[in-house]
Amino acid sequence: MPNMNMVQSVNSALDNMLDRDADIVIFGEDVGYFGGVFRTSDGLQEKHGKHRVFDSPLSEGGIAATAFGMGINGLRPVVEIQFADYIFPAYDQIVNEMAKVRHRSGGEFWCPVTIRTPAGGGIRGGHHHSQSPEAQFTHTPGLKVVYCSTPFNSKGLLISAIEDNDPVIFFEPKRCYRGPFYGDPHNVPTWKEHPEAEVPESYYKIPLGEARLAMEGDDCTVIAWGAMVHVAEQAIKNSGISCDLLDLQTLVPWDRDAVVKSIEKTGRCVIVHEAPKTSGFGAEMVASIQERCFYHLESPIERVTGWDTPFPHTTEWDYMPSPSRIAEAIQKTQEE
């Protein structure tokens, strides 16, 4: 099986789907001729034609609206918003239009659009190239929200997202495009040799709504998504505590069964995300977990998140949840 980084695996998913389904079109800023500023659509225009993979004007609202129109008229657009921070001019089209058209039209129209967008920090991008705005979409009924973390799951999840008949916001952790990120900016490995970088060239799917058990243990359940999956892995190793690490993969709908099952086993839980804490998706999970697992919990659920502040530029390592912060939270769950 070829070794792919996450740029190549996303590219491979798009390529497979363009081959399989003539109704798929791909567009966005710089995605056509240039192949995307992160190179995720490199070579696809040349292979599949300019009418299927093309540049759009620099207009996120226009991209989302056009995708909406194509989607309700039988196409299956896969569009890119160059940075998740730039998705907000499209927010009205996504939240009020895409998310609600099936419902508002009594099921006569639906919108099978996938919006891919690089998200998250760790690239010295300051507050406009680092945000992780998943909670702004999980709070919108009608949208599905996916956050991949590895080359293998990015491809399988993206194919499922594209085939899904509902609109899907698909977050790609840009910090992990070329390698997993373990929280140490001075030691950045590539995907080479990583088991999750073995990616089939052919079509395969990972169902939406299923978490991935990335590590298995007995004493604590650590839940993370995106780049934080790898940081949490490092933290668990550093802590020496036996943990389940659940890579949530899909945030809406999230895998409640896997989470409940794990917490029933461990009785303790830490949730990690790099987005701010207040109204972050971790808050939703904490609330649901106490509803389902209250009598299994041995200690309060811990959250390790970005601060409730804009994402900084020079001092981003004091913002991003670090392995030590996560390890301390894991430790804390053991003390009660």
Binding site: L58, G62, G126, H129, W307
Partner: protein, 412 residues
């Protein structure tokens, strides 16, 4: 479903891609081609100017035509000096980026005349609402170069405290409003800035810029509509440098020019040679006078060429002819003003070299001074307390709590 024999979606082509001979045909206008517009001209009067190109410097570097602003030699030399300063400063910053002393950089290469000539044509009380491609305005407004470098590094002396990416300057003292990464947002905001000045009945005009690419954002259209309706004292510039990263301006305009778009909004609109210092100065001064006389907004297309990469993260040889900037469509703005001054016998190659040397030393000194406060590769960095300050006017309890937690980790 009724099928018909037709082609699929039309997707425009860029006029040239790697391997092609670059084609530039838009600079054929002569200074004499367009008359000076009356200050209270109608929208219809400006139609020729919206489709033509206002130029002052001709091919022999002489200042010609009715738009000649008749600047003194001292004023012209000051403009030349600022443009050179911008270019040499950019070169130094790129070197710093390449050696890891700052994280990212964006040059104004080939577009130096725009911010500098236009800001010089304004009054010091006028508001500037720039993109990342108009830092040169700060030189005109007297900003200390050390402070600019400290911002780009994001070190202890960065006035925005390590929060923004490089080139996202804020300089309130010079009425240079904070640059934001999401493109286009400033364009419609500038109308509000202008209306606030008007509400307060102050003699202030606001100037703003947007790229050709970003003119596809809604903000561009909001700005034209609001400015027109409320007669805002605002100068709305579309800087058509022809490339939005890899996307050619024809994806924003379908090969139409940009200036003409102001006409149906009822805004007198002019296209100007963005590499001609004198033409830029003149058109901007005219627009300022209109605004100051309560005649409302002016919409300007500044035709230029992004001679360099979009940013330090970009490699334009992948999407446009490698040597396209060597063709200097419109000519190097610095060279053109230099040759004009030489031709007027106000300047010489020798003086020019001396000036270059002086600015080189000035930039080098500023660089050495700035890195004393830290660089990205080696620190020291600004205090991460700045993550928590100025999120709100006063931090609420949850931020204070998190701030304490951050300090515990940081200071451990």
């Amino acid at each position: 479903m009724v099928k018909k024999e037709t082609k699929s979606i039309h997707v425009p082509d860029a006029p040239h891609r790697p391997g092609d001979e670059p084609k530039f045909e838009q600079w054929s206008w002569k200074p004499e081609d367009l008359n000076l517009l009356k200050i209270d001209c109608s929208v219809e009067d400006a139609e020729n100017h919206a489709t033509g190109l206002v130029r002052v410097l001709d091919d022999n570097h002489e200042a010609k035509g009715e738009w000649n602003p008749d600047l003194t030699s001292d004023e012209l030399i000051l403009g030349l000096e600022h443009m050179l300063r911008m270019r040499i400063f950019d070169e130094r910053m790129m070197k710093m980026q390449r050696t890891g002393k700052l994280s990212f950089y964006m040059r104004s290469f080939g577009e130096e005349a725009i911010a500098i000539a236009q800001t010089m044509a304004l009054k010091s009380q006028d508001w500037l609402f720039p993109t990342y491609r108009q830092p040169g305005a700060q030189f005109v407004r007297g900003r200390d170069m050390v402070s600019m470098i400290c911002h780009c590094i994001g070190n202890e002396e960065d006035n925005v405290k390590g929060r923004q990416m490089p080139v996202h300057y804020t300089y309130r003292e010079g009425r240079y409003i904070s640059v934001s990464s999401p493109v286009g947002t400033q364009f419609s905001q500038a109308v509000g800035v202008a209306l606030a000045s008007k509400y307060k009945q102050l003699d202030e005009v606001t100037i703003t810029w947007i790229g050709d690419g970003a003119s596809a954002e809604g903000d561009y259209h909001y700005a034209l509509n609001f400015a027109s309706i409320f007669k805002a004292p605002v100068i709305l510039n579309v800087v058509n440098n022809q490339w939005a990263i890899s996307t050619h301006s024809n994806f924003a305009s379908n090969n139409q020019n940009f200036a003409i778009r102001g006409i149906p909004y009822g805004i007198p609109s002019i296209r100007v040679d963005g590499n001609d210092f004198l033409a830029l100065y003149s058109v901007t001064k005219w627009a300022r006078e209109r605004a100051a006389k309560d005649l409302g907004p002016t919409h300007i297309e500044v035709l230029t060429y992004r001679a360099g990469a979009h940013s330090s993260s970009d490699d334009p040889s992948r999407y446009r002819p490698k040597d396209s900037n060597n063709h200097w469509p419109g000519g190097d703005p610095i060279e053109r003003l230099k040759l004009h001054l030489i031709q007027k016998k106000d300047w010489s190659e020798k003086k020019h070299q001396e000036l270059e040397k002086r600015i080189d030393a000035e930039v080098m000194d500023a660089y050495k001074e700035a890195v004393k406060f830290g660089d990205l590769a080696n620190g020291p960095y600004p205090s991460s307390d700045a993550i928590f300050t100025e999120v709100y006017e006063n931090p609420p309890w949850h931020l204070l709590e998190q701030w304490d937690e951050m300090k515990r980790w940081r200071d451990e």
